[in-house]
């Protein structure tokens, strides 16, 4: 028996995503992922001052602006021939780390967890926790007042098999509320060195504009300590508990099985050592990254520009009525193949290299706890687990970067903008590998292209008709009730899609 299911919009992610499914025998046979919103950043950047780019591209995404700002200033550093002083590099790391923490927390608790956790469990709550008592009273009052949509925005939702254990549900709901405050705190850490968040103005080529003081270093450390405690005592245990309650999701949403990471958080000024290294992991094993293997294809995308161009030569010519196209996303490919990017890709690359003892320890520890094998990481739960482990890894490492900094340490190196130049800024957003490519003529931007994590993950089919990673991950997913395709959105959200990023 075949059926068609539309999930439009897919909420609880950033932006405008629609997913169409074809079901056969209760399983997804084919999936189509459509990015539904286009602004044209790459078009409107042309002709502007190159320094506008780190501010304008941050506005590609309000969830991970720091990553776009970082990619842009890295591209500009290269084009201008400038390197930040060690203090500038470390402060950039701290700003980015703080935004990783806020992004990973918001993704698990506020975007993804509601697909597993049963908020209504709070109605049976008999304890005295003030936050839960109040939440219960609120939902009850809404139900009794016969509000049309009681407890919005938490209800209505897809019905299905949510978490059954009352204690786990209540703990997760309480942490949902606490995580709202925790992510606000992480944003304060961004603002301490970035000026404000989202959209940090202090990121500039050559370093950062903020200066180091005993005050801002101590404030960052104090908030980081609180976040590390929350990560250790709430985030990691909650992810492990959800994983144990839904073991099937270690065998659901496998995806394309090929992974790409550019690497992030430089540990030295030459950027040769990264906390999370780059690499390409396929069935043929782990290989060094060759950036020249990246292209973007557009056969099924709303663009009339040529297909399969490398980003440095990329073009963005919108064609909203293009026949056969079904997404505003381009389809990035590496050696012509789709690649999954994100925390799972980064953790798998580091784990496979085997030269990051902390990564090995964290991954092995979690696998032992869950009684799972490394292959099980290629799954919905594997993505959640990798994201949580990475959050801990980055937060812990941020404390060590703070130790390397002191008041008054320089954070900026002077530079000038050449008449012509090129730069490539490769980094990692919380959602995965991010690249910006910049070309300057006459002091102005001649071309600017962004290949963004969710462009990789949520891409439509490529010129050869090969589906993108999310589309592949959905294929084979059992759907118990086509009117409530809860299983499908669990797969989609495990990638933490960001559509404003993906299309830009």
């Amino acid at each position: 028996m075949t059926a068609k299911v539309e999930i439009d919009p897919v909420t609880r992610l950033e932006g405008h995503l629609a997913v169409r499914l074809e079901l056969d025998g209760g399983r997804v046979s084919q999936a189509f992922s459509s990015g539904e919103m286009f602004r044209g950043f790459e078009v409107l950047l042309r002709g502007r001052s190159p320094m506008d780019a780190q501010q304008i591209t941050q506005r590609i995404c309000g969830v991970c602006p720091i990553s776009h700002g970082t990619a842009s200033i890295l591209a500009q550093d290269q084009a201008y021939g400038v390197s930040p002083p060690p203090g500038g590099r470390l402060v950039r790391n701290l700003i980015l780390a703080a935004n990783y923490i806020q992004s990973h927390l918001i993704h698990f608790y506020h975007l993804a967890a509601l697909d597993f956790v049963d908020v209504t469990a709070v109605l049976d709550y008999q304890g005295r926790d003030p936050a839960l008592v109040a939440l219960k009273a609120w939902i009850k009052s809404q139900v009794e007042a016969k509000v049309t949509y009681p407890a919005a925005p938490f209800l209505p939702r897809y019905e299905g098999a949510y978490l059954g254990q009352a204690e786990l549900n209540l703990g997760a709901v309480k942490h949902y509320l606490e995580a709202l405050e925790m992510r606000t705190k992480a944003h304060k850490m961004v603002a301490l060195f970035g000026g404000k968040a989202p959209h940090a103005t202090a990121l500039v080529p050559g370093g950062v504009t903020e200066q180091l003081t005993a005050r801002n270093l101590a404030a960052y450390r104090a908030m980081l300590d609180e976040l590390r405690t929350f990560i250790d005592q709430a985030y990691l245990p909650d992810v492990a508990a959800v994983a144990q309650a839904f073991p099937d999701y270690f065998a659901t949403g496998r995806g394309c099985g090929t992974f790409l990471a550019y690497g992030v958080f430089p540990e030295n000024d030459g950027r040769t050592e990264m906390l999370l290294p780059g690499g390409v992991l396929t069935g043929e094993g782990l290989k060094e990254l060759r950036v020249e293997a990246v292209t973007e294809q557009v056969k099924y995308s709303f663009f009339s520009s040529a297909s399969n161009l490398p980003p440095a030569q990329g073009r963005t010519e919108p064609a909203p009525d293009k026949a056969g196209a079904y997404s505003w996303l381009k389809a990035p490919r590496y050696d012509g193949r789709p690649m999954e990017v994100g925390p799972l890709a980064r953790i798998l690359v580091a784990y496979t290299r085997g030269d990051r003892p902390e990564v090995t320890r964290l991954v092995d520890g979690l696998l032992n706890q869950l009684g799972a094998k490394p292959e099980a990481l290629l799954s919905v739960m594997g993505r959640h687990a990798a994201r949580a482990l990475e959050c801990k890894l980055v937060a812990d490492r941020a404390a060590a970067w703070l130790d390397q900094l002191g008041p008054g340490q320089p954070t900026f190196t002077e530079f000038t903008i050449p008449r012509t130049g090129r730069g490539q800024g490769l980094t990692e957003a919380p959602r995965g590998a991010l690249g910006h490519w910049l070309e300057i003529h006459g002091h102005k931007i001649a071309n600017y292209q962004c290949v963004v994590p969710s462009t990789w993950n949520c891409s439509p089919r490529d010129d050869a008709g090969v589906p993108g990673p999310v589309e592949q991950a959905l294929a084979g997913t059992p759907i118990a009730d086509p009117d409530n395709p809860l299983e499908a959105v669990r797969v989609i959200r495990s990638f933490d899609p960001c559509l404003a990023c993906a299309v830009h």
Partner: protein, 308 residues
């Protein structure tokens, strides 16, 4: 947290009254406004056009009241694409039903792709059409952030989608509904939360010619700048991380109206100018509009003149 007690209301109302620049005598009235919100009298629909969700993320940074309190205690947030548990077709039902019954506040984040409606769809429908339908019977429309309020980056020079601000879009479609504009990239959470509460209890806050609440946008960044004294004595920073006024680095504080230098961002943590970053005019009517007005000055200019 949700279902606050009377005392909680008064406490938060006092903070809110201070935030809005109201005297202590109005605290009970603010508290009453908040109670009405709790009983579901102020349903809010939050739609996203050409946005980055940055104003939503910024909204979550609100501290008094905090995000949990707002979501469960102060607003009946019927739909928000990033926060709603609701997925798929049911979202459109909620939006259509709320739009049909009216009396709601419509918050719009993001610009309207007037020249290319296909550039923003939800449920196969242009979001531009959904915004028009939802605005028709709304008590007020709040255009949150620079994209919605003034067009912002999607409406910058050479943009391919013909993007316009929400007030401009409603005007073109001859829809007369009160519109409050909250430019800023992002909008400060105090501006968003404070405006919604003001609109509920006191009617529209006093607005300027661009529809901005005067209480937040009454004065220039420059006039309220911690480095204003440096400007007065012509002590200018020559490069980033230098002390002194940032004007010669391209600071747009002199053309930008907003209270961010006094209010500060992220719960009083920092501001752009305090962090040594020139104001990029993110709350200005002309934010990012023209390539001829770059965010930063000096570097290209200097080299261009030396090489010419």
């Amino acid at each position: 947290m949700s279902n606050p007690t009377r005392r909680d209301f008064l406490k938060t109302a006092a903070a809110m009254a201070a935030l809005l620049g109201l005297g202590p005598g109005l605290v009970p009235k603010v508290a009453q406004a908040m109670e009405e919100l709790v009983s579901g009298l102020a349903p809010v629909l939050w739609l996203q056009g050409q946005s980055c969700s940055g104003c939503s993320v910024s909204f979550l940074n609100s501290e008094a009241p905090g995000p949990a309190a707002i979501l469960t205690g102060y607003l009946s947030l019927l739909f928000h694409s990033t926060l709603s548990a609701t997925t798929g077709e049911a979202c459109l039902k909620i939006i259509n039903r709320a739009a049909g019954s009216g009396g709601h506040f419509l918050v719009v984040e993001g610009a309207m792709p007037a020249g290319m409606p296909r550039a923003c769809l939800m449920g196969h429908q242009p979001v531009t059409e959904q915004v028009l339908r939802a605005a028709e019977k709304a008590k007020a429309v709040v255009a949150v952030g620079s994209c919605a309020a003034v067009g912002g980056i999607p409406a910058a020079e050479n943009n391919p989608t013909g993007a316009v601000s929400v007030p401009e879009f409603l005007k073109r479609n001859k829809l007369e509904v009160p519109v409050i504009s909250l430019p800023g990239c992002p909008a400060h959470p105090d501006w968003t939360v404070g405006t919604i509460i003001h609109a509920l209890k006191f009617g529209l806050p006093e607005l300027d010619e661009l529809g901005r609440p005067k209480v937040f946008y009454g004065r220039l960044v420059h006039e309220q700048c911690p480095r204003f004294a440096d400007y007065e004595r012509k002590y200018f920073a020559k490069s980033f991380t230098d002390p002194g006024c940032l004007f010669k680095l391209g600071c747009l504080g002199p053309v930008t109206k907003a209270d961010c230098t006094l209010r500060k961002w992220n719960g009083g943590t920092n501001t752009c100018i305090m962090a040594g970053a020139p104001c990029i005019g993110c709350a200005a009517e002309t934010f990012a509009r023209s390539a001829a007005v770059p965010f930063y000055r000096r570097r290209e200019v200097e080299e261009a003149s030396s090489s010419s």
